[in-house]
Subunit: 343 residues, 2 copies
DNA sequence: CTGTTAGCGCATTCAC
DNA sequence: GTGAATGCGCTAACAG
């Protein structure tokens, strides 16, 4: 393990907190009323251009910067939105977060990021902490119960990603389309029995994928066995390899790429050749080109989901109304190196 | 490309924003003054236990929850801290962010996450937007100039990760130790000429790594050539493979694992066998077990850096003083499958 | 167009 | 131990 930390130099210095210049000081300096200063910043068109300029100049000179908190208290709007994800370390989320952030930025909103560690209690706690500091919330792949989600939705504007609750705006990544392609792909390669390595039981995506695989498998007259991996992680995947192999299948579809990667590692450790004797397909397509062999995976655009969710939320905030929208983003199979004809 | 999005159900509903219960309503209900309600929540020991209980009961019944913004305006503290990173999609950062979040959570602080896209202008903008909403800031692998950083540090409590500015508290991951081990490892394998695939020019880590490699190489009497990759990304790494090969070296150390991964892919495309004819070492050790062959890498504990930075910042906030501390976290080499004796 | 007034919801002096 | 004022910094009517 890496270790050893040393510190040096301990000279303490008192913090010189820049005691904020207030609107009144600017008002005095510019020889106007406080409200005019306020207007100069929020509705300049209500003032004479020359007045605005004078105020702005005075403000600049004093180093005035509007106090966000005071403004928030007065207006009830603070321009923050919360984004909660189960596991920031899962490569599925960063692109989504990034896109969300970009979209929020376009409207001058700041994002609070919350990480729940896949833990519903932690998620509940975060929502509580965020509420009151944010104007709205995006819950991504929430692990909360329907009831808790509805409870929160009644408190503040809420948008869901990968959770399908009627009445609450939601963006869904429909694995169905990609899953069908994946199963068909395996069928054409001659596989007769496959395994689905499932994900978190309270995950909508997991339920959806499992159902889609079940349907597709039966329509192609393939046998299907479900092996639960519980958490979507590398180690979960590696841990269930024995269960997968003992199922007697020749191919597997995993809940997500990270799990698939764990499975891939486990197979390799047991000298099972991929794709020669076993085929593997992931989901999310977040590290397709990264593994060896390149992972065949079901691709989506998680970033689009993030962008859309924020966009939806911002719309709700500006309209002060909630549309019961349900966006569905489709997926498709990307074939790489982990699938081949059944041995 | 994935595509196709459809929306359905457009029934609009007005938002029923839960008009916050205020302290006054609770005061009335409990038959006390507003100040007592305030005290019941912030300094219960100043009140009779029975009074506190009565107030809390009334609050509970009304569903009162303290208004964070109002409290912040009054006290000047809002319990938020900002965390800014260059690229959340780079696997180096998520563990750091996660640890930071955990540490902040322990003290009931919320984290604003900012992503700069490796862009100093964006970074500056984010700092500006955050200032005023956060009590302090952590800049991770900042791409800003020393001057800008000092300017910001004079405005609000600031902690740096992987940036060494005297007078500003900082947490540094010292690649030096690991780099020396890496170069020695290559020397022992018989490599005589190596390449350093560099990272962002305004990155402290990059400068530090380059310098350490230079020193180590000369002490082992190895030739060194630096090939710039500009951005730490998979594609940057892949793009510089030709330059690496034409340098005539037999081994390379990359700025980070992601870059190394790109190099690995590029080498594979050019049918250069790793490690048989070319050895490769990454930095950060964030995806060692993920690539094939497993990437030999210089390991650190980025999560520890995140935790420490937050802890330092919180200490500054509670002391209202700034210690000129400089924490150094050491690193070490982890040998996996991408290094072997020089062909 | 601009100044005056009155809160936003809470924490915090003081008195009692 | 508790209540009554005052102010945090700003925005939003309402006048003029």
């Amino acid at each position: 393990m890496v270790s050893g930390s040393r510190a040096s130099e301990f000279q303490d210095t008192m913090i010189k907190r820049a005691k904020g210049v207030t609107i009144s000081q600017v008002a005095d300096a510019a020889g106007v009323a406080r409200s005019s200063v306020s207007r100069a910043f929020t509705r300049p068109d209500m003032l004479l251009p020359e007045t605005v300029e004078r105020i702005l100049k005075a403000a600049e000179a004093l180093g005035y910067v509007p106090n966000h908190t005071a403004r928030a208290l007065s207006t009830g709007r603070h321009g923050n939105i919360g984004l909660i994800v189960p596991d920031i370390a899962n490569p599925f989320f960063p692109p989504l977060i990034q896109a969300a952030q970009l979209e929020a930025d376009r409207s001058d909103f700041c994002i609070f990021l919350g990480n729940t560690e896949e833990n519903p209690k932690q998620e509940d706690k975060l929502v509580g902490r965020f509420a009151g500091q944010v104007e709205g919330l995006v819950l991504t792949s929430s692990r909360l119960s329907d009831e808790r989600i509805r409870a929160h939705a009644s408190q503040l504007p809420l948008v869901l990603i990968n959770r399908d609750l009627e009445g609450i705006p939601r963006v869904l990544i429909d694995s169905g389309s990609g899953v069908r392609q994946a199963v068909e792909h395996l069928a054409q390669l001659g596989h007769r029995k496959i395994v689905y390595v499932s994900g978190p039981s309270n995950s909508w995506s997991n339920k959806q994928r499992r159902a889609a695989i079940r349907t597709a498998a039966s329509s192609f007259r393939m046998e299907l066995e479900v092996v639960p991996a519980v958490l979507p992680s590398y180690s979960s995947g590696r841990n269930v390899v024995d269960a997968i192999l003992s199922a007697g299948a020749t191919a597997a579809i995993a809940f997500d790429d990270v799990t698939a990667q764990g499975v891939l590692a486990g197979l390799s450790e047991r000298k099972v050749a991929v794709p020669a004797t076993f085929s593997l397909i992931g989901c999310d397509d977040v590290l397709g080109a990264v593994t060896y062999p390149g992972l065949t995976s079901i691709s989506n655009r998680s970033n689009e989901a993030g962008r859309l969710a924020i966009s939806l939320l911002l719309e709700m905030l500006s309209n002060r109304s909630i549309r019961d929208v349900r966006y569905v983003l489709e997926t498709h199979l990307v074939v790489r190196g982990t699938t081949a004809a059944a041995g």
